[in-house]
């Protein structure tokens, strides 16, 4: 068992495609929340295996895509200071800010380093005691524990020049906001790794309140096809509920140790999402007990007025109301090598997925 090859078995994928065709009678609209699913669905050509009454939409689960220009602009402002090192996951480097990007600032000599893990960032801070190191903490439930652990490790090791600039967000408020906005979907393909941490119980309220089918899915083609089968089965029987397809990694309660460390370090706050605006309690800020590691509290910088790019429909793409193909910039002014909007930058953004793998 390698947990990959077994779930790429073509005969099982085709078997599931047949089963879906057999049971699916009603029109059904499903949204994949996670950017990893967006990419997998396009890469494995899942839409071509489905009957025409099943429509798949991409949702808001790409952290780089939903992060505000103001956040990028502030990171750029930090990067311009000679006494600061920026450490980040690679995804964020090329995201355009209002007038610059981290990649652009690096070209101008700013010290911006891509790290694999927050522990590497702590080590970098230790090796550069004369400078402040700011780690750019973005991501959902999956990624937040890594940031929380970093703050605890900095505290434990007395690494006082380590700071975190948090844009961490929570998935359920965005999933609810889309429905509140009137986006018509029958069910969500639930984010597998977010739920590996947070636990499938987190969606119970959402499923009940909005009568939504929610199936938490793995990322291989067999996983995704089985998830779609389970969602269609729920829709056909008109019994929407929370189910887990990705049982090898997801439980009802998630990872209690990870949740505990996150709640020790972070607290909920209102946050801005591209396409959705400000959502109540949808973001995570650093608790005041850890303020000495909070870049926003410790280092003041002047940030330029944020400007969203003209013509970019990334916000509407993130809500599933427009396809990347409807954007005038798509594949013309906006490409992965020269992106205008965040949905084209990220390797899990819907625009890049459409660009790379077609419709």
């Amino acid at each position: 068992m390698k947990f990959v090859d077994e779930f790429r078995d073509k005969s099982l994928v085709l078997e599931l495609a047949g089963k879906i065709r057999k049971i699916s009678k009603k029109p059904v609209v499903l949204m994949e929340v996670c950017g990893g699913h967006t990419m997998a669905i396009r890469r494995f050509g899942i839409p071509s295996l489905l009957p025409s009454n099943i429509k798949l939409l991409s949702g808001p689960g790409c952290p780089v895509c939903v992060t505000s220009r103001r956040y990028i602009d502030q990171a750029v402002a930090y990067a311009r200071r000679k006494d600061i090192i920026i450490a980040t996951y690679g995804d964020l480097i090329r995201v355009p800010g209002s007038t610059s990007s981290l990649a652009g600032e690096r070209g101008n000599g700013a010290d911006i380093r891509v790290v694999y893990s927050t522990l590497d960032a702590i080590e970098m801070a230790r090796q550069n005691p004369g400078k402040s190191l700011i780690f750019l903490g973005i991501g959902f439930e999956t990624t937040t524990p890594s940031s929380a652990i970093a703050i605890r490790e900095a505290q434990k090791s007395g690494t006082d020049n380590f700071l975190l600039f948090s844009a961490h967000k929570l998935m359920p408020p965005a999933m609810a906001a889309l429905i509140d906005e009137g986006i018509k979907i029958d069910g969500y393909i639930g984010p597998g790794h977010v739920t590996a941490i947070a636990g499938a119980d987190m969606y119970q309220e959402l499923a009940e309140k909005y009568r939504l089918a929610i199936v938490v899915s793995g990322f291989e083609p067999v996983d995704i096809m089985q998830t779609i089968y389970m969602l269609v089965r729920q829709v056909e029987s008109d019994e929407p509920k929370v189910e887990v397809q990705y049982r090898r990694a997801v439980t009802a309660k998630g990872n209690p140790a990870a949740k505990r460390i996150v709640s020790e370090v972070f607290e909920q706050r209102d946050d801005w999402w591209r396409g959705l605006g400000i959502l109540k309690d949808s973001g995570l800020g650093i608790k005041s007990a850890f303020a000495q590691y909070d870049a926003e509290k410790q280092i003041e910088v002047k940030v330029e007025e944020a400007i969203e790019p003209k013509g970019c429909i990334c916000g509407e793409v993130l809500k599933g109301i427009r396809s990347p193909l409807e954007c005038k910039l798509f594949a013309r002014a906006c490409t992965p090598s020269n992106p205008v909007g965040a949905c084209m930058v990220s390797n899990e953004g819907a625009c890049q997925a459409f660009y790379r793998y077609g419709n």
Binding site: S117, R248, N255
Partner: protein, 76 residues
């Protein structure tokens, strides 16, 4: 961003593990898990083990799909 990969634990030193991901050795912090043993499969994300992967559940998932197979369902 939430990309996580399965790896097999081959070495544990304190709260750090080394895991084999298709032959490539990667480091994984065990800060979020307390019962990891050598030989376990873990889900690795940004240098940390998020969860242990259950072989039993994986086999159950595949079994459920195979149980869907019967001659009446052969559409292709």
């Amino acid at each position: 961003m939430c990309l996580s990969i399965p790896g097999k634990v081959i070495e544990i030193d304190g709260n750090m593990a080394k895991a084999s991901v298709g032959g490539t050795i990667v480091k994984a912090g065990l800060h979020m898990l307390d019962d990891v043993q050598i030989g376990d499969y873990i889900l690795i994300h940004t240098g940390f083990a998020l969860q242990k992967i259950s072989e039993e559940e994986a086999l159950e998932t595949l079994k459920l799909i195979k149980e869907l197979q019967n001659p009446d369902n052969q559409i292709f």
